[in-house]
């Protein structure tokens, strides 16, 4: 099994969710994050002090998938999240050794 992590622009969330559903993925875990990268932030002004804010809001998704779906799923996410502008984010995958569904104790593919 693999764990796919995707860091995307918050306003692409709906598109990615739709794409995942179409692909047949029915579960994920989402966290609010912020990103630092090529997409430089903006300037904020507070009473005469200007700050260059370099962390920009991102949404972070984690999706467990079976090995054979991993690469394809990455493509699906990348396509749905893309706006073509700097800061679109990253998607990566790491190997998972075991996964369990808490409710049932099912392991492996059945846990999804």
């Amino acid at each position: 099994m693999k764990l796919i992590t995707a860091v995307i622009k918050p306003h692409r969330m709906d598109e990615v969710k739709d794409a995942l559903q179409a692909f047949g993925v029915h579960g994920m875990t989402v966290t609010e994050a912020s990103g630092y990268g090529r997409q430089r932030g903006h300037t904020e002004v507070y009473r005469g002090a200007e700050y260059t804010v370099d962390l920009v809001p991102k949404t972070r998704l984690e999706i467990l998938v079976e090995d054979e779906d991993a690469e394809q799923l990455i493509d699906v996410i990348v396509k749905a999240a893309r706006t073509g502008k700097i800061g679109d984010g990253k998607v990566w995958s790491v190997p998972v050794e075991s996964a369990v569904r808490v409710r049932t104790g099912d392991r492996g593919p059945d846990a999804l």
């Binding site: 306003h11 912020s34 904020e44 200007e50 700050y51 260059t52 804010v53 370099d54 962390l55 809001p57």
Partner: protein, 429 residues
């Protein structure tokens, strides 16, 4: 004007002043977090713009003696430009008292419109809109209704006069229909009807706004008597009764239709009731106020759904609450008014409402079109997606991160505030 009345009206003025920030919170809490500050600022800026224009010529246009003479009644003269000739404190305290009280109305009314335009207009265009709109719509219409010689105030059928105690026509119908005209020009938010994230970012803030509005509205309504007497007391009582009932009206409607009593519904119902009782409260019994409250609460709850059916994006339901509530109050008092209520009175009310509807709609539409085709009214798409707070105000609403500027809202990387580096030169040079 007696000392007691001055005391009453000056304090009512302060209470009405608090309504504009109240409105800002009421609206601001309903917005997605990324444009919440912009919403607050759209309201706050009217406190600056209308105050300045009021001194320069607004008071004179609205409350100067009618310049068009008998039968005209379209706007006041310019004798009070810059408040000249009004400062004989011992002999004319009432002019100043009314001037500060009515200023607050000129601040609030354009602010009401802002909710309809939420999350998608240029801040500078909005400021321009406010300045022109109060000048060519609000000041004249206020004169029609309340000014010496104003034509609506002077209408008479069978000895009956139009009842608009505290501003059903001049404030709420006026702002509500202007909101409709403006959104027709400006168009919908990106994602309207589709975006799953368009929900309030801070409901307690919405309730805070509603609470401050409710409080200030006692000043707005009772203070409009310009005296502390039985009518003011009745108005205050009816304001409470109608508003409380409207809360129930909205909640019952929601419970029946959606199965839940929402907080947003309670807050909205309160505003609906306050709007509806505004023109009517001094002329109906408490039982009548309950009727107005119940109808306005339920009707506004229904009316806020219209935008989805008809397809105009009145973001925060200025039409559904202020226009609909204002019409309900203005028309119902036609039938319910103590003694004078009846069909003749209803016709009078309808004429007043209709006149304001037409004038405000047409002029606002032209104004919005003019802004659209000159400096542009709408924020560009990127600004709308990113959020207006960052683009126009260079700020983020909240930063709850422990690292200070850490995650949710970004952190400042340039670690020397610019002002210390080069910024100061710009000014001190």
């Amino acid at each position: 004007m007696e000392a007691a009345d001055i005391a009453f009206v000056v304090i009512c003025a302060a209470m009405v002043m608090l309504m504009t920030p109240g409105l800002a919170f009421f609206y601001g809490g309903m917005i997605r977090v990324k444009s919440a500050l912009n919403m607050l600022m759209m309201c706050f800026i009217t406190m600056g713009i209308s105050s300045v224009l009021w001194v320069l010529y607004g008071w004179s246009v609205a409350f100067g003696t009618d310049v068009n003479g008998e039968g005209g009644g379209l706007f006041g003269n310019f004798d009070f430009i810059g408040f000249q000739g009004m400062l004989d404190l011992d002999n004319t305290p009432e002019l100043l008292t009314i001037a500060v009280f009515q200023l607050m109305f000129a601040v609030l009314t354009p602010a009401l419109i802002s909710g309809a335009l939420a999350e998608r207009v240029k801040f500078s265009a909005w400021a321009l809109f406010v300045a022109v709109w109060v000048s060519i719509v609000y000041f004249p219409v206020a004169h029609w209704v309340w000014g010496e010689g104003g034509w609506i105030g002077g209408l008479e059928i069978d000895g009956r006069e139009v009842i608009d105690f505290a501003g059903g026509t001049a404030v709420h119908i006026n702002a509500g229909i202007a909101a409709l005209a403006a959104v027709l020009v400006i168009g919908k938010r990106i994602g309207f009807k589709k975006d799953s994230g368009m929900r309030p970012h801070n409901l307690p803030m919405v309730l805070l706004g509603a609470a401050l509005l409710w409080f200030g509205w006692f000043g707005f309504n009772a203070g409009s008597e310009l005296a502390a007497n039985g009518t003011a007391a009745l108005m205050a009582l009816n304001t409470m009764v109608a508003t409380g009932t409207a809360v129930l009206g909205w909640l019952i409607y929601e419970r029946l239709r959606y199965g839940a009593y929402t907080t947003l519904g309670a807050a909205s119902g309160a505003i609906g009731g306050l709007v509806a009782i505004t023109p009517a409260g001094a002329d109906v019994t408490p039982m009548g106020a309950m009727a107005i409250g119940l109808v306005s609460g339920a009707a506004c709850a229904w009316a806020v759904g219209l935008k989805y059916k008809l397809g105009y994006d009145d973001s925060l339901d200025v039409v559904g609450v202020h226009l609909v509530g204002g019409l309900i109050g203005t028309l119902m008092v036609g039938f319910l008014a103590i003694e004078v209520g009846g069909f003749a009175q209803f016709v009078l009310q309808a004429i007043a409402a209709g006149a304001v509807l037409v004038y405000s709609f047409v002029v606002t539409l032209l104004l919005a079109l003019a802004i659209k085709h000159t400096i542009g009214f709408r924020a560009d798409e990127d600004a709308e997606l990113t959020g207006l707070d960052q683009v126009y105000h260079a700020e983020s609403g909240y930063d709850f991160s422990q690292s200070g500027g850490g995650s949710a809202a970004g952190s400042a990387g340039d670690r020397i505030p610019a002002a210390t580096q080069t910024g100061d030169k710009k000014v001190d040079a």
